[in-house]
Structures are given as C-alpha cells and as structure tokens.
Symmetry: C2
Subunit: 376 residues, 2 copies
C-alpha cells in the first residue's frame, strides 16, 4: 500500500476528530499542500487550486521541488497564475494518496491502512478540509478559488458551505452535479477495479494488486478525457511497427491508439491507490449542488442553489469536445453564479483535446485565466 | 458453448472450403438467414439486410416465427421495408453465434468448437459469404443493400468487391473505416473479456464462463451506443429505491443508470458467445474501405475508394448524437458514393438516442427509409 508524496509537501493537521458529511470521522488526518509566492500583509492575494481526481499538490516547480508540476505552464512567476502577484496554494484532495489522508493511509487506531473502513467520502468533506487549511494559513477570504474537473465540484461545495470565502472563482471544466453519462463511466471504472480478483474487497497489497482492474479503469478514463476529433488527427489508423507488437497474442496491440492507452495505463496503475480511486470516483457521482437549493426553489434546482453564492466575479471555462463534463455544465455554473449577482462569464473554448484540454491546451486556457486574474 | 439459433432459420451451405481474406479456410461453413415476402419473377425486388455486431437473422416476425424481431417496426407488410413489395433477406453474420458458422461452432475436423482456431475474420469475409448466398437464391443484383452499423461496413465491402451487385444502397449509422475512438472502445471491450480469468484463452465453457468480462464489455457498449443527452432526460440523477439496492456492497448499484446498464449486461452476457464477440469486434477495427482506393488516389483515400462503386441511388443516414459512428462518417460515405455517380444523399437525423437510434427512433428512421425505397 504505497502513498506517493511529493518531496516538498507541507502538511496541515486537520481538526481531530474530523467528522464526515455522511457519517464517520477521522482522527489525526492531514492535508498535503504546496504554495507559491508570498501572502501579502493584507492577506488578500491568496489563490487556492483544487485539483481533479488524481493530481498531487505539486502543481508547478518551486525552489524546494524543481520538478515540473501538473500545471507547470499555468503557474509560476510571470505565468497566467502569476506567483509574483499571487500567493497560490494547491491541495492534494482529502481521500487521495499523495500526502493527504485517504483510504491508503494508516488508521492510527489499528496501525493498518483504512482501506474500506475509511468513512464514506463526499466532495463536501474535501471542500471543508480545504477551507480549514486556508483559515489556518490566516486567510479569511480567497482572492480567487480555482477548481478543475472534480476540483470544480469541490470549489462549488466550498463556496456553498462557506459564504464569503472567496472574492472570485474560476471553474475549469467542472460541473455542479454528476449526470448519468459520467456516472455510468465512473461506475464502470469502479466495477473494473472491484471485479479484479486481486482487489479482494480492498485488501490487496503490492504483490497481490488489482493491476488489471486499474488498467481498465484508467484506459476508460483516458478515452473519456480526450476526444474522437483529437485522436483522429493524432493517430488515424496508424499501426504499430511489427517489432512493437506482441508476437503470440492474436488480440494484442495493433493500432497506435491502443499502444497510447496501454502506455497511459501502465504509468498510472501503480501510481494511484485503487481504494482511493474508488472513494474519490464515488464522491463525484454523489455530488449535486442542487442539494443546497432553497426549499422554495424546488428539487434539483442547480441554478437556484448556485444563485446563493456571492462572488464579485466568476468564470466558467469549458471545452466543446468534452464528453465527460460537457459544455452545458459550465454554462449552467456561469448562469447560476450570475443569479447570485456575480459578474459571471461562460467561456466555451474550441480545444480539440476534450476534458483534458485544461492540462494541455495552454494557448487557450492560459490567456483566459491570465486575463481574468489580471482584471481582479 | 451455446449457439442461439432462431427457430425458423434457414441455412445456406457456403462454398467449401471457404477461404478467408487474411488466410485460413473453413470446411462445411454455413450462413443462417430468414426471408420475408416473395421474389418477383424478374428477381429484381430483393433487399438484403446486413446487421450490426450482435443481432440474429430474425429481423421481424413472419408466419414461421411470430416472435418480434430486432427491426420489427421497420420490416413487414406495409412497413417502411414493405414485404408486400420487396423480397427481404436478413443474414446472421459470418463469425456470429446465431446460426451462422463462427468461433463457437463445431470444427468438423476436430468435433470441438473452433474457439481461437477460427480463421482471422474480416468484414470482407462476411460480405463475400453474404454475396454467395444472394447468388444462390438466384439474385444477380439486389434492388437495395441495407447495412446497419457493422453491417454498414459489410455492405461497403460487398459493393467494393462485387461490382454491379446492387442497384441502390442504404447505409445506416455505418462507417467506411474504423477511427481511433471506436477502435479504443472496442479494444477495451475485448481486453475486458480477455482479462477475465474464466476466458482462459478462449477455452471457457458454460460453468467456467467469462461473465464479468462480458458484462464489462456490454456495459461499455451500451454507454457508447446511447447518448449523454438521452440519459440526462431519461435517468437524470434518480436513485434506485432502497429495496433494489444491494445491502452490503458499499460500491453497489445506486443510480437508475447503473441499474439500466446492469440489466442490459445481464441479458447479454449469456446470449452472445465471447469468442465470437472478439472476432467480430476485431474485424470492425480492421476494416478500411480505403484499402480499395485506386493506387493513384493515394493511401487512405476513402472517397476515391467509394467512388468506384456504381449505384443508381444511395442514402447514408446517421444521428447527431452518435459518438461511435459519428455523423461525419456517414457524410463521408454519401460523398464517396456521389463521386461514383450515384444519386447519393446524406441524411443527418436529430435523434437523441445515439448510435442505437436506428433500433428505436422509428419515427425518424421509418419515413426516411420508406421514402427512399418508395422512390426506387
């Protein structure tokens, strides 16, 4: 049971016990985080970044850890999220395995990993934990809260549960609730892990590890994170050279696109804990901002829920080719936040890279985020 | 090892040995088929229907088998494919398990199922077998060749390899070649089956059966056969009643959409042979009409290949919400056939049901197909 903790992580001891929204509590839990830039004397220049399902807190290089981070092109001195102006915090999500407490962490009560004894994790638990860290850093109100993908859900939970906690918000390829197509995809990913005989109801170890289940889950993820359009241009029907094909497997890899998926999967399967994956994935299915709608708005009214959030400015960015968090979901966020009086903008981008565009299409995402932050 | 043969199937003994495009041959192979209506004395009113991956030849009820077929609303007296005017043939694809010879059939040389000793199956092998049957029925030229989904590929192979074999053609949600998104999906479906420990390199039986792999493959299929739009309207975030939820499984079914997928999968896993699934699925990845392009057209030129087909009329129908055989692929077919001088029409339909729309959205597909056939 391995955790994957970036070397320059800082750790915030969460309130103990830490009660979970759906019941249960953790003793001695922590969040891993990293920071860039300096907090201003007025403590009014803080940006918090909430990540997608799998990234760690190492969003970009810094003197203590010069390795490139997962948002290297976006964050740093002179970059769209300019660490010369902003004090930037990135958190490894609660429930993850990259320094923050999650199902792969040791339960101090037993000395063993929590595994499936970890409490049912909600998006809201991650949001509340992040809010506790921000408060402990002496920040009463964020200048901007940025959430990407799953982090876009966490950010909305943060804003809904902690009124006045941010001046502005950028929601990047996020959604206010999971819809059935993405629920179906994630449900199938979880089923692939759970059906792997090595999963053993969560009691795997490094030698008996649900590698095949994780491989399937990751491949399905990558398929839905990208777009048919991009792959058509990138791979077409190109086949692997014969020396890269398995000799004796009649159903083995043949096309470049299959090899690409296999490579992605191999890099991932041992770098993310399967139980953590299950917990985080399920938390996304459960999240529905409409749970916060005022009673008079009627059930399922996302925009009425978001309309309670008071922000000065908001930006919801999405991508035309995203099939997992489709553009209508970012439009819904922008519309909902506008109801609350925010100067709220919906920005659809024509990136071909699908849901993952925010991780690669910096020529579009960079200027959009830079312009928003510059205007604050 | 079960085959699933509709009771009123007729059988056509294929030429023996039957050589396969990629090598290998079958002895004593057959095609299962059913027919509707009567062949005219001039033998000029025949329509052949080539199916998607899984259907049998029982496209519609008839006196010998009154059970509804998979295209019941489309085919029969007075229906869009009117069996009072047309003599209609539907074939169970070569390589399937519903009466035609496939990997689950008994190899007469060994008395055992072929399993992975079945020759590598191409779309072209299915097309050639279908053409042999049509000839044996005394039909020199089809009035119309209809191919749906995989059958749309088979139909193009039929027309490319047998010049003059049809007066007209309807390509329903088909494609002229597999593109990387659909290859990736099918590759993952095959991997799910192959990773099931019960698959045993194809040597499963009814008691040791790759049920989990088939379940995963089918769920992924259903996800890609439908559309996010349809599911949003149909399932939303509705949860199962508590009495339909597993009590003791923390990651068990919770949302209606998960239950819908589970139901589909359960109905399928024992009704389709896993090895047949692997062979048919792979044949789709391999198919590329551009293989038939004249040398001077340059590699990969689908339209130049299709431009060699001589038809009087053609119709390529597709659906805006189809992510597996996207609309551009039907447009490519229509454009290519037009190059060959066909009066060729591309008809995009706004059905919300995705790739499966042709199986359910009869209010759109019915009139389109009826009008085309009426004009012949």
């Amino acid at each position: 049971m391995t955790e994957f903790i970036p070397p320059a992580s800082r750790f915030f001891p969460l309130p103990s016990p830490l009660s979970f929204k759906r019941g249960g509590a953790l003793i001695g839990a922590r969040l891993a985080y990293e920071t860039w830039g300096r907090l201003s004397p007025a403590r009014d220049n803080a940006i918090l970044i909430l990540t997608g399902l799998s990234p760690d807190a190492h969003a970009a290089s810094h003197p203590d850890d010069p390795r490139p981070g997962w948002w290297e092109a976006m964050l740093g001195p002179g970059k769209p999220i300019d660490s010369e102006r902003w004090f930037v915090i990135c958190i490894n999500s609660l429930g993850s395995c990259k320094g923050s407490t999650g199902p792969a962490s040791i339960d101090p009560a037993t000395g063993e990993p929590y595994r499936l004894d970890f409490p049912d994790l909600s998006i809201e638990d991650g949001a509340d934990a992040a809010h506790a860290l921000v408060g402990a850093l002496g920040i009463e109100r964020l200048a901007c809260l940025i959430g990407c993908s799953m982090g876009g859900m966490t950010a909305l939970a943060y804003l809904l549960r902690h009124p006045g906690a941010a001046h502005s918000h950028i929601n990047v390829s996020g959604s206010a609730r999971a819809l059935p197509f993405s629920i179906a995809i994630r449900s199938l990913q979880r089923e692939a892990i759970r059906l792997d005989p090595n999963w053993r109801e969560g009691r795997y170890d490094d030698t008996c590890y649900p590698e095949n289940g994780m491989r399937m889950a990751r491949k399905l993820g990558v398929i839905t994170y990208r777009s048919a359009l991009e792959w058509h241009g990138r791979f077409g029907r190109v086949r692997l050279d014969s020396d890269r094909r398995p000799d004796d497997d009649p159903f083995g890899l043949e096309f470049e696109v299959e090899s690409y998926l296999e490579g992605h999967a191999r890099r991932f399967v041992r770098q993310f804990d399967p139980n953590c994956y299950l917990y985080l994935s399920r938390s996304m299915d459960w999240f529905d901002a409409a749970d916060y709608a005022p009673p008079e708005a009627g059930r399922g009214n996302v925009e009425a829920a978001l309309g309670q959030i008071r922000l000065r400015r908001a930006l919801a960015i999405g991508v035309e080719t995203d099939i997992l968090f489709p553009l209508q979901q970012q439009e819904e966020i922008a519309d909902g936040l506008m109801r609350g009086g925010s100067d709220s903008q919906f920005l659809p981008l024509p990136s071909p890279q699908g849901h993952d565009a925010f991780l690669v299409d910096f020529s579009r995402f960079g200027p959009a985020i830079a312009a928003f932050l510059a205007s604050l």
